[in-house]
Symmetry: none
């Protein structure tokens, strides 16, 4: 992994920019967000597909999860992106080569390492409790050490803007130390997020000028901003316009306090409006889907009003506005929504949607005509279900079953006549759960019962036990993921619940959805459709099933 990184040669003369994602590290600092190792891997692979060149994986050694991520990515490397290890400079008054905290960084085996150091004299004396000279030595020595080990180094200048405002001479000294150590990028970090765009412009200009004065034409400038002043995106743009070539941020702007600069806003601004090149246009058209996928992985509701990628970003309300936008989208849209994989939505109009439904049907090899009554009927049914809280974006298997129902091509594998679930908790003991189901298959009725460590797993176990009598292949099906979202939290425990279940047969994965005020009922719907879809897949020939390719593991 260390050998080759030709993709990211410097191209200072072109309009190429390098996006550096820190969702896995800085993004995970967001209050209420916590990522499992599997979550991190899923996000890293998504970012890789999106064409993000640098992905910060975490701080190896700071916690066991981060070390494991690097190991897993050594076993199954990303296709294009560089995974980057993050760490601080060495401790005061040691040698970098002897600092035990730097060993796990090298063990992570990345080509690129980002190390951060103090730019603000106040932090050197107050937080590090060391001298200003020692801080300079720490920066240079740490970078030199990594370079001596064949690594390439990005230097994050923590608290850069506050440091510069308080003591510009010293702040510039810290950058000089990083350059002397061999850093290839100097990233100006607005750690507290308090800087405004005009300040970024002025200070970034100074850095670019200083680098020129030092004769350092090969060292590049980067920018890392936070949104505490509501200007993280504008601050990053300001730095780019002064010559910064690396932009650090996170998907959906996740991050500590008010978040980091949102890459889902920055990338389209840079690429569509300012003419820089960040990712392929083909990848840009996956931006909305990637944003929503990652919000599902971290289990945070997507921001419908997010620029470019939000569900409402291109929503138009009724009247003149709508007819104007239909005649000439330029009148009310700043970009074409398709460029970022989003959609124009006409609010309060069932005109919208039909073409989506038809396009979607074509995905499954089903050719529905616009004037076929089934098309309108399917659209109507879809709208009713979406009103009830169903969501098919993330549950394509349920969508396909719905389409097959409308077309009369949905086979009835089994019929479930009802279920009962019982939970019993005596003081302090664990909670016993038991479920019974009654199933009809080929005119035979079967009553089964099973236990589980919760009501949903008991229900799932009872269903499988009953159906396996008829369909032994069900033994191969696994539940891979189970997600619950409360749709109207304000209704308290009476709120509607949406359950998404991801199932697998070892070769393919598919997701189904259920909605009910009763979480057990919602889970039951999703689990039952998951089993049904799995049976359908087993019977299908590969040729007529696009979903096979789409959802291959």
């Amino acid at each position: 992994m260390v050998e080759n990184s030709t993709n990211y040669q410097r191209q200072t003369m072109s309009k190429q920019l390098w996006i550096y994602d820190t969702t896995l590290r800085d993004g995970a600092q967001r209050e209420g967000l916590s990522l499992s190792l599997e979550d991190k891997l899923q996000i890293a692979r998504k970012l890789d597909q999106l064409g993000i060149p640098f992905i910060e994986g975490g701080w190896p050694g700071a916690n066991p999860k981060d070390v494991q991520l690097f190991w897993r990515l050594k076993e199954e490397p990303l296709s294009q992106a560089e995974i980057v290890a993050f760490c601080s400079t060495r401790r005061p008054h040691t040698k970098a080569a002897e600092d035990p905290s730097l060993k796990p960084i090298l063990s992570a085996g990345t080509i690129w390492i980002t190390t951060f150091g103090k730019s603000w004299d106040l932090h050197v004396t107050e937080s590090l409790k060391t001298s200003l000279e020692e801080n300079l030595a720490m920066i240079q020595d740490t970078i030199e050490f990594f370079r001596s080990q064949g690594r390439r180094v990005i230097y994050d200048a923590e608290h850069w803007f506050d440091g510069y405002k308080n003591n510009p001479e010293y702040a510039l000294e810290t950058l000089k130390a990083a350059v002397a150590g061999g850093a290839e990028w100097l990233v100006l970090c607005d750690t507290n997020g308090g800087t405004l765009p005009h300040e970024v412009t002025a200070i970034a200009k100074t850095v670019v000028t200083a680098l020129a004065n030092w004769g350092e034409t090969s060292v590049q400038v980067g920018i890392h901003t936070h949104n505490d002043s509501g200007t993280a995106v504008a601050n990053a743009l300001a730095a780019v316009m002064e010559g910064a070539t690396m932009i650090q941020g996170t998907i959906n702007g996740y991050g500590e306090r008010c978040g980091n600069a949102d890459l889902c806003t920055l990338i389209p601004n840079l690429q569509l409006k300012l003419g820089y090149s960040c990712i392929a246009n083909e990848q840009l058209s996956k931006l909305s889907e990637s944003s929503r996928f990652i919000s599902e992985v971290v289990n945070l509701a997507p921001d419908d009003h997010a620029p470019f990628v939000g569900l409402s970003a291109f929503a138009h309300k009724g009247g003149i506005h709508v007819s104007a936008v239909e005649r000439n989208p330029l009148t009310y849209e700043h970009i074409a929504p398709e460029e970022v994989g989003n959609k124009r939505r006409i609010v309060i109009s069932d005109q919208s949607g039909l073409s989506n439904v038809l396009a979607k049907a074509r995905n499954y090899g089903i050719n529905l005509e616009r004037d076929n009554p089934t098309s309108r009927q399917l659209l109507q049914q879809l709208k009713e279900l979406e009103n009830q809280g169903y969501q098919f974006e993330a549950a394509e298997a349920s969508f396909e079953l719905l389409m097959r129902s409308a077309l009369g091509t949905r086979k009835q594998w089994f019929e479930i006549r009802g279920f009962q679930v019982h939970c019993d908790k005596s003081s302090m003991a664990t909670c016993n759960s038991l479920a019974t189901v009654k199933v009809i298959v080929s005119d035979r009725e079967l009553l089964e019962v099973a236990e589980g460590n919760g009501p949903v797993s008991a229900l799932d176990a009872a269903l499988r036990k009953a159906l396996q009598n008829f369909y032994p292949e069900i033994a191969e099906f696994q539940l891979r993921d189970y997600k619950v979202r409360i749709l109207d939290g304000k209704a308290g425990t009476s709120a509607k619940t949406r359950v998404l279940v991801e199932s697998s047969n070892g070769h393919q994965r598919w997701t189904t959805v259920g909605v009910s005020t009763n979480i057990l009922d919602a889970s039951y719907q999703a689990v039952v459709e998951g089993l049904e879809y799995g049976l359908m897949l087993q019977q299908q020939t590969p040729s007529n099933s696009v979903i096979l390719a789409e959802s291959s593991l």
Copy 2:
């Protein structure tokens, strides 16, 4: 109301800015937001208290609600703010004095009227379907008419930036027409939200220069931005730095598509960072409370990550970080949270050290010493619970109960001996849920049963029914929010579940947490702690309860 508006005399030579709120009109365009007349009145009064000088009430005549708002505010006027009527210029080829659509505007009886006109030639020909000359006449004639009726006029130049970019000469002609008509402010509107800050800077400069060239020293410039590029705040700041003196925006950035410029971000930036004067400092310290109040009125969950006013805006994770911020807040905070009426929060997470726990305890008026064995014990317990999946970041009430347990100051209000939950679904019917609980209070044992539309609501109902016999105040408690997070989705339906429950007693809100592989058990834990905490709050004197102030609605 027409007689006196001395508060808003022009003071071009000072650093005074005029904030113009359009939450009631442009904010209400947000998808999913709809305001009753009472909502509008509540918001208007809150904005008035906050010191916002101009409040756009709506478009009289466009809908009955807007007319009523103006009537109600004539009966009970605002104390300081000017309520402003909004309308378009007259129709093509009529006279303003004869245009029936302008009559209700005058009837609204405001001193100030904002009228918007077309700046973009494309919109004149495509939307208005009239000539460029007629559009100029419409602008001038409409404003002249209002002036002749003794009103003062703000001119909103719709699509200003796109118009200017496409045809700068014509765009400037439209402003000249507005000036000729007698407008006192020319507001540059980025209607589609696609403009970036450097463009605003350049174009606003042109307008200021043009006004000087025309010899119009008394006409001022305003700015109205949308967030489609994620730069609404930065765009407004850019215009102010070029000389704009009126800033239009909405509370919490509500608005169509991606929203308008957020006044809760703009006002602190302008006042605390750029030294402009917008509202009194005393009023600024009510900003967070006003933001949350208005989000309650419009029934949208507050954005915890909003700059300045969000619950997480001054939240600190991580050990070193926390001890540094306690020694010197400047190190990690861009402003003092009190200036905007927000609070520093120490977040308890798996990165927390002892200093976080101690700092948090101090929040609750509990002075724990670093070398007190209880402190270490509490930290240990906290880490174990977090390993199990508990999360106290968002469940401060559960954290306080845990601390009180460790300190031996947690009162036992009741003891629950166990529960049973039963759900029964027969084919196609809805799912019946029934729960029983056994509770001991003051040595009396009580067995209760209740139904619900799901197992959790049945359990909640049974618990309340049992406990209300002893604590009638429980009748006042409401479940305000219920959140479910599957901790390890990969374990399928056997995964651990974390439940967060937000409760309220009508004055205060608090959040509790439960974790279990059984979703009913997790919900039960959170609901029970929610009831316990509510009982504890009822008994507390205000003096020893920081949480009372923190969590006031």
